[in-house]
Amino acid sequence: MNRRAFVFLYACTFAFILAILVFYGSVGKQTPGGDSLYLGEKQLVLFETYQTAEQDLYAIELVALLSAKQASKENFEEDFENFFGAYLKKYALTTEDFTLVYTTKDATMMITGKSFKELVYTEEVFTYKIYPSFQITIPWETEEDKALFS
Protein backbone atom coordinates (compact mmCIF):
# COMPACT_ATOMS: atom_id res chain seq x y z
CA MET A 1 0.00 0.00 0.00
CA ASN A 2 1.21 3.47 -0.63
CA ARG A 3 1.50 6.11 2.04
CA ARG A 4 -1.70 7.96 1.03
CA ALA A 5 -3.76 4.81 1.43
CA PHE A 6 -2.34 4.36 4.97
CA VAL A 7 -3.75 7.74 6.02
CA PHE A 8 -7.29 6.48 5.42
CA LEU A 9 -6.54 3.23 7.29
CA TYR A 10 -5.18 5.14 10.32
CA ALA A 11 -8.23 7.42 10.34
CA CYS A 12 -10.60 4.41 10.29
CA THR A 13 -8.66 2.65 13.06
CA PHE A 14 -8.64 5.73 15.26
CA ALA A 15 -12.37 6.34 14.68
CA PHE A 16 -13.16 2.70 15.50
CA ILE A 17 -11.21 2.77 18.79
CA LEU A 18 -12.79 6.13 19.69
CA ALA A 19 -16.28 4.75 19.00
CA ILE A 20 -15.62 1.76 21.32
CA LEU A 21 -14.36 4.05 24.11
CA VAL A 22 -17.34 6.41 23.76
CA PHE A 23 -19.81 3.51 23.80
CA TYR A 24 -18.40 1.71 26.87
CA GLY A 25 -17.69 5.00 28.62
CA SER A 26 -21.37 5.93 28.54
CA VAL A 27 -22.90 2.52 29.32
CA GLY A 28 -23.36 3.47 32.99
CA LYS A 29 -25.14 6.72 32.18
CA GLN A 30 -27.47 4.98 29.74
CA THR A 31 -28.48 2.36 32.35
CA PRO A 32 -31.89 3.14 33.92
CA GLY A 33 -31.33 4.77 37.32
CA GLY A 34 -27.84 5.96 36.40
CA ASP A 35 -24.39 4.56 37.01
CA SER A 36 -23.98 1.96 39.78
CA LEU A 37 -21.07 1.59 42.16
CA TYR A 38 -21.43 -2.20 42.01
CA LEU A 39 -23.61 -4.80 40.34
CA GLY A 40 -27.18 -4.62 41.71
CA GLU A 41 -26.70 -1.43 43.77
CA LYS A 42 -29.95 0.19 42.59
CA GLN A 43 -31.88 -3.06 42.90
CA LEU A 44 -30.75 -3.44 46.52
CA VAL A 45 -31.88 0.12 47.36
CA LEU A 46 -35.25 -0.68 45.79
CA PHE A 47 -35.49 -3.92 47.73
CA GLU A 48 -34.57 -2.24 51.03
CA THR A 49 -37.34 0.30 50.41
CA TYR A 50 -39.81 -2.53 49.85
CA GLN A 51 -38.64 -4.08 53.14
CA THR A 52 -39.16 -0.80 55.02
CA ALA A 53 -42.63 -0.39 53.51
CA GLU A 54 -43.55 -3.99 54.39
CA GLN A 55 -42.41 -3.41 57.98
CA ASP A 56 -44.54 -0.25 58.22
CA LEU A 57 -47.59 -2.08 56.84
CA TYR A 58 -47.05 -4.84 59.39
CA ALA A 59 -46.70 -2.28 62.20
CA ILE A 60 -49.97 -0.58 61.15
CA GLU A 61 -51.76 -3.93 61.21
CA LEU A 62 -50.26 -4.67 64.62
CA VAL A 63 -51.33 -1.29 66.07
CA ALA A 64 -54.85 -1.96 64.81
CA LEU A 65 -54.81 -5.27 66.68
CA LEU A 66 -53.39 -3.68 69.86
CA SER A 67 -55.98 -0.89 69.64
CA ALA A 68 -58.83 -3.37 69.23
CA LYS A 69 -57.67 -5.38 72.26
CA GLN A 70 -57.41 -2.24 74.42
CA ALA A 71 -60.76 -0.76 73.42
CA SER A 72 -63.67 -1.20 75.81
CA LYS A 73 -66.56 -3.30 74.60
CA GLU A 74 -69.17 -0.74 75.63
CA ASN A 75 -67.86 2.01 73.40
CA PHE A 76 -65.75 -0.09 71.08
CA GLU A 77 -65.62 1.86 67.84
CA GLU A 78 -64.82 5.22 69.42
CA ASP A 79 -62.24 3.70 71.77
CA PHE A 80 -60.64 1.75 68.94
CA GLU A 81 -60.35 4.83 66.75
CA ASN A 82 -58.87 6.88 69.60
CA PHE A 83 -56.15 4.31 70.26
CA PHE A 84 -55.58 3.70 66.55
CA GLY A 85 -55.28 7.45 65.89
CA ALA A 86 -52.72 7.84 68.68
CA TYR A 87 -50.59 5.06 67.16
CA LEU A 88 -50.89 6.42 63.62
CA LYS A 89 -49.19 9.73 64.49
CA LYS A 90 -45.84 8.01 64.00
CA TYR A 91 -46.74 7.34 60.35
CA ALA A 92 -48.16 10.86 59.70
CA LEU A 93 -51.63 9.32 59.30
CA THR A 94 -54.95 9.78 61.12
CA THR A 95 -58.07 7.63 61.47
CA GLU A 96 -59.79 10.05 59.05
CA ASP A 97 -57.40 8.78 56.37
CA PHE A 98 -58.88 5.29 56.73
CA THR A 99 -62.17 3.75 55.67
CA LEU A 100 -62.98 1.42 58.57
CA VAL A 101 -65.52 -1.40 58.31
CA TYR A 102 -66.60 -3.42 61.37
CA THR A 103 -68.18 -6.83 60.78
CA THR A 104 -69.34 -9.18 63.55
CA LYS A 105 -69.87 -12.84 62.77
CA ASP A 106 -69.58 -16.17 64.65
CA ALA A 107 -68.39 -14.61 67.93
CA THR A 108 -65.65 -12.64 66.19
CA MET A 109 -65.27 -9.08 64.98
CA MET A 110 -63.41 -8.37 61.79
CA ILE A 111 -62.11 -4.86 61.25
CA THR A 112 -61.02 -3.86 57.77
CA GLY A 113 -59.20 -0.60 57.14
CA LYS A 114 -58.13 0.95 53.84
CA SER A 115 -56.30 4.22 53.67
CA PHE A 116 -56.78 6.70 50.87
CA LYS A 117 -53.58 8.51 51.89
CA GLU A 118 -50.30 7.07 50.66
CA LEU A 119 -47.17 6.23 52.57
CA VAL A 120 -44.37 7.78 50.50
CA TYR A 121 -40.76 6.59 50.44
CA THR A 122 -38.45 8.92 48.55
CA GLU A 123 -35.06 7.64 47.45
CA GLU A 124 -32.42 9.23 45.28
CA VAL A 125 -33.47 7.51 42.07
CA PHE A 126 -37.14 6.65 42.68
CA THR A 127 -40.20 7.29 44.84
CA TYR A 128 -42.26 4.40 46.17
CA LYS A 129 -45.87 4.96 47.25
CA ILE A 130 -48.27 2.54 48.86
CA TYR A 131 -51.76 2.72 50.37
CA PRO A 132 -51.77 1.00 53.79
CA SER A 133 -54.55 -1.45 54.56
CA PHE A 134 -55.20 -4.07 57.21
CA GLN A 135 -57.64 -6.75 58.27
CA ILE A 136 -57.78 -8.05 61.82
CA THR A 137 -60.08 -10.40 63.70
CA ILE A 138 -60.69 -10.39 67.47
CA PRO A 139 -62.97 -12.49 69.68
CA TRP A 140 -66.36 -10.79 70.00
CA GLU A 141 -69.09 -12.54 71.89
CA THR A 142 -72.46 -10.83 71.51
CA GLU A 143 -75.55 -11.38 73.66
CA GLU A 144 -76.95 -13.56 70.88
CA ASP A 145 -73.80 -15.71 70.89
CA LYS A 146 -74.01 -16.08 74.67
CA ALA A 147 -77.66 -17.16 74.41
CA LEU A 148 -76.80 -19.52 71.57
CA PHE A 149 -74.00 -21.31 73.42
CA SER A 150 -75.57 -21.27 76.92
Binding site: E48, Q51, Q55, Y58, A59, L66, Q70, F83, A86
Partner: protein, 181 residues
Protein backbone atom coordinates in the same frame (compact mmCIF):
# COMPACT_ATOMS: atom_id res chain seq x y z
CA UNK B 1 2.26 -7.66 -10.62
CA UNK B 2 3.67 -5.94 -7.53
CA UNK B 3 7.30 -5.10 -7.45
CA UNK B 4 9.73 -6.55 -4.87
CA UNK B 5 9.46 -3.57 -2.50
CA UNK B 6 5.68 -3.72 -2.44
CA UNK B 7 5.74 -7.49 -1.73
CA UNK B 8 8.08 -6.96 1.25
CA UNK B 9 5.77 -4.23 2.63
CA UNK B 10 2.71 -6.55 2.33
CA UNK B 11 4.50 -9.37 4.18
CA UNK B 12 5.44 -6.98 6.99
CA UNK B 13 1.84 -5.76 7.29
CA UNK B 14 0.50 -9.34 7.44
CA UNK B 15 2.98 -10.24 10.20
CA UNK B 16 2.13 -7.09 12.18
CA UNK B 17 -1.59 -7.80 11.76
CA UNK B 18 -1.23 -11.40 13.01
CA UNK B 19 0.77 -10.23 16.05
CA UNK B 20 -1.83 -7.51 16.70
CA UNK B 21 -4.72 -9.99 16.53
CA UNK B 22 -2.89 -12.41 18.84
CA UNK B 23 -2.24 -9.63 21.35
CA UNK B 24 -5.87 -8.49 21.13
CA UNK B 25 -7.24 -11.99 21.75
CA UNK B 26 -4.81 -12.49 24.66
CA UNK B 27 -5.88 -9.14 26.14
CA UNK B 28 -9.58 -10.01 25.89
CA UNK B 29 -9.00 -13.43 27.47
CA UNK B 30 -7.02 -11.83 30.27
CA UNK B 31 -9.80 -9.27 30.88
CA UNK B 32 -12.43 -12.04 31.08
CA UNK B 33 -10.30 -14.15 33.45
CA UNK B 34 -9.59 -11.10 35.62
CA UNK B 35 -13.31 -10.24 35.80
CA UNK B 36 -14.19 -13.78 36.93
CA UNK B 37 -11.37 -13.77 39.51
CA UNK B 38 -12.59 -10.41 40.88
CA UNK B 39 -16.12 -11.75 41.33
CA UNK B 40 -14.84 -14.86 43.13
CA UNK B 41 -12.70 -12.71 45.43
CA UNK B 42 -15.67 -10.46 46.19
CA UNK B 43 -17.87 -13.46 47.01
CA UNK B 44 -15.25 -14.93 49.34
CA UNK B 45 -14.63 -11.66 51.16
CA UNK B 46 -18.35 -11.03 51.71
CA UNK B 47 -19.09 -14.54 52.93
CA UNK B 48 -16.34 -14.21 55.52
CA UNK B 49 -15.64 -17.95 55.59
CA UNK B 50 -19.16 -18.98 56.66
CA UNK B 51 -21.95 -20.65 54.77
CA UNK B 52 -24.18 -17.58 55.19
CA UNK B 53 -24.13 -15.75 51.90
CA UNK B 54 -24.14 -12.00 51.42
CA UNK B 55 -27.39 -12.47 49.52
CA UNK B 56 -29.10 -13.79 52.67
CA UNK B 57 -27.76 -10.89 54.72
CA UNK B 58 -29.55 -8.51 52.33
CA UNK B 59 -32.81 -10.30 53.15
CA UNK B 60 -32.44 -10.03 56.94
CA UNK B 61 -35.16 -7.36 57.10
CA UNK B 62 -37.66 -9.70 55.48
CA UNK B 63 -36.56 -12.59 57.68
CA UNK B 64 -37.07 -10.45 60.79
CA UNK B 65 -40.53 -9.37 59.62
CA UNK B 66 -41.55 -12.95 58.84
CA UNK B 67 -40.26 -14.05 62.26
CA UNK B 68 -42.56 -11.52 63.95
CA UNK B 69 -45.50 -12.91 61.97
CA UNK B 70 -44.95 -16.47 63.23
CA UNK B 71 -47.90 -17.74 65.29
CA UNK B 72 -47.32 -18.83 68.87
CA UNK B 73 -50.54 -20.06 70.48
CA UNK B 74 -53.25 -17.45 69.92
CA UNK B 75 -50.69 -14.71 69.35
CA UNK B 76 -47.95 -13.82 66.91
CA UNK B 77 -44.39 -13.22 68.08
CA UNK B 78 -44.69 -9.53 67.14
CA UNK B 79 -47.79 -9.19 69.31
CA UNK B 80 -46.06 -10.87 72.25
CA UNK B 81 -43.10 -8.51 71.86
CA UNK B 82 -45.51 -5.56 71.96
CA UNK B 83 -46.54 -6.72 75.44
CA UNK B 84 -43.02 -7.25 76.83
CA UNK B 85 -42.36 -3.68 78.07
CA UNK B 86 -45.59 -3.80 80.11
CA UNK B 87 -44.57 -7.13 81.66
CA UNK B 88 -40.84 -6.66 81.93
CA UNK B 89 -40.55 -5.67 85.57
CA UNK B 90 -43.80 -7.07 86.87
CA UNK B 91 -46.10 -9.46 85.06
CA UNK B 92 -49.36 -7.70 84.15
CA UNK B 93 -50.69 -10.21 81.65
CA UNK B 94 -50.29 -13.60 83.37
CA UNK B 95 -52.20 -15.48 80.68
CA UNK B 96 -49.48 -14.47 78.24
CA UNK B 97 -46.37 -14.57 80.36
CA UNK B 98 -46.67 -17.20 83.05
CA UNK B 99 -46.01 -20.78 82.14
CA UNK B 100 -46.89 -20.42 78.49
CA UNK B 101 -44.13 -18.66 76.66
CA UNK B 102 -41.63 -17.07 78.92
CA UNK B 103 -39.07 -17.62 81.64
CA UNK B 104 -37.90 -14.71 83.73
CA UNK B 105 -34.35 -14.02 82.73
CA UNK B 106 -31.69 -13.71 85.41
CA UNK B 107 -30.80 -10.24 84.20
CA UNK B 108 -33.30 -7.38 83.79
CA UNK B 109 -35.27 -8.85 80.97
CA UNK B 110 -37.01 -11.90 79.64
CA UNK B 111 -35.78 -14.64 77.39
CA UNK B 112 -37.47 -17.14 75.14
CA UNK B 113 -38.48 -20.43 76.69
CA UNK B 114 -38.14 -23.75 74.87
CA UNK B 115 -41.46 -23.42 73.01
CA UNK B 116 -40.81 -19.94 71.70
CA UNK B 117 -37.18 -20.75 70.91
CA UNK B 118 -38.23 -23.77 68.87
CA UNK B 119 -40.65 -21.71 66.78
CA UNK B 120 -38.07 -18.99 66.08
CA UNK B 121 -35.20 -21.40 65.53
CA UNK B 122 -37.15 -23.52 63.04
CA UNK B 123 -37.57 -20.38 60.96
CA UNK B 124 -34.17 -18.73 61.32
CA UNK B 125 -31.82 -21.71 61.49
CA UNK B 126 -32.72 -22.64 57.91
CA UNK B 127 -30.83 -19.55 56.80
CA UNK B 128 -28.59 -18.49 59.67
CA UNK B 129 -27.88 -21.87 61.29
CA UNK B 130 -26.78 -21.20 64.91
CA UNK B 131 -25.44 -17.72 64.30
CA UNK B 132 -28.63 -15.71 64.92
CA UNK B 133 -29.65 -13.63 67.91
CA UNK B 134 -32.94 -11.77 68.45
CA UNK B 135 -33.12 -8.83 70.87
CA UNK B 136 -35.68 -6.24 71.95
CA UNK B 137 -34.50 -2.82 73.11
CA UNK B 138 -36.95 -0.53 74.89
CA UNK B 139 -36.01 2.94 76.16
CA UNK B 140 -32.33 2.10 75.77
CA UNK B 141 -32.51 -1.16 77.73
CA UNK B 142 -32.30 -4.68 76.36
CA UNK B 143 -35.47 -6.27 77.72
CA UNK B 144 -35.57 -9.50 75.73
CA UNK B 145 -33.05 -11.82 74.16
CA UNK B 146 -33.25 -15.12 72.33
CA UNK B 147 -30.52 -17.08 70.61
CA UNK B 148 -29.32 -20.69 70.29
CA UNK B 149 -27.63 -21.87 73.47
CA UNK B 150 -24.63 -23.01 71.42
CA UNK B 151 -24.49 -19.83 69.35
CA UNK B 152 -21.11 -19.21 67.71
CA UNK B 153 -20.19 -15.57 68.20
CA UNK B 154 -17.87 -14.69 65.36
CA UNK B 155 -17.22 -11.72 63.15
CA UNK B 156 -19.78 -9.00 62.83
CA UNK B 157 -22.54 -9.10 63.62
CA UNK B 158 -24.52 -8.15 60.54
CA UNK B 159 -27.76 -6.74 61.87
CA UNK B 160 -31.14 -5.37 60.93
CA UNK B 161 -33.81 -3.82 63.11
CA UNK B 162 -37.39 -2.69 62.97
CA UNK B 163 -39.67 -0.63 65.16
CA UNK B 164 -42.54 -2.45 66.82
CA UNK B 165 -45.42 -0.74 68.65
CA UNK B 166 -46.03 -1.49 72.33
CA UNK B 167 -49.19 -1.28 74.42
CA UNK B 168 -48.37 2.39 74.98
CA UNK B 169 -49.18 4.33 71.76
CA UNK B 170 -46.44 6.83 72.55
CA UNK B 171 -43.65 4.29 72.93
CA UNK B 172 -42.06 1.88 70.50
CA UNK B 173 -39.61 -0.98 70.93
CA UNK B 174 -36.72 -1.84 68.64
CA UNK B 175 -36.43 -5.47 67.55
CA UNK B 176 -32.93 -6.39 66.40
CA UNK B 177 -31.88 -9.46 64.47
CA UNK B 178 -28.13 -10.07 64.62
CA UNK B 179 -26.23 -12.63 62.59
CA UNK B 180 -22.65 -13.51 63.43
CA UNK B 181 -20.33 -14.56 60.63
Amino acid sequence: MLNKKAQVEDTTEVIISIIGIALGVALLMFAKADYERSIENAKESIQGGTTISAFDVQFMGTDLLNTLKLPIGEYTIGEVIAYIPRNNEEVQDPELFEGILWDKWFIDGVACDAELYTVINEHLSLIYEKYWSLKVVYEGEEIFTCHPSDILFGFGPAQTSMTVPTRDPEKYAQVILEVYQ
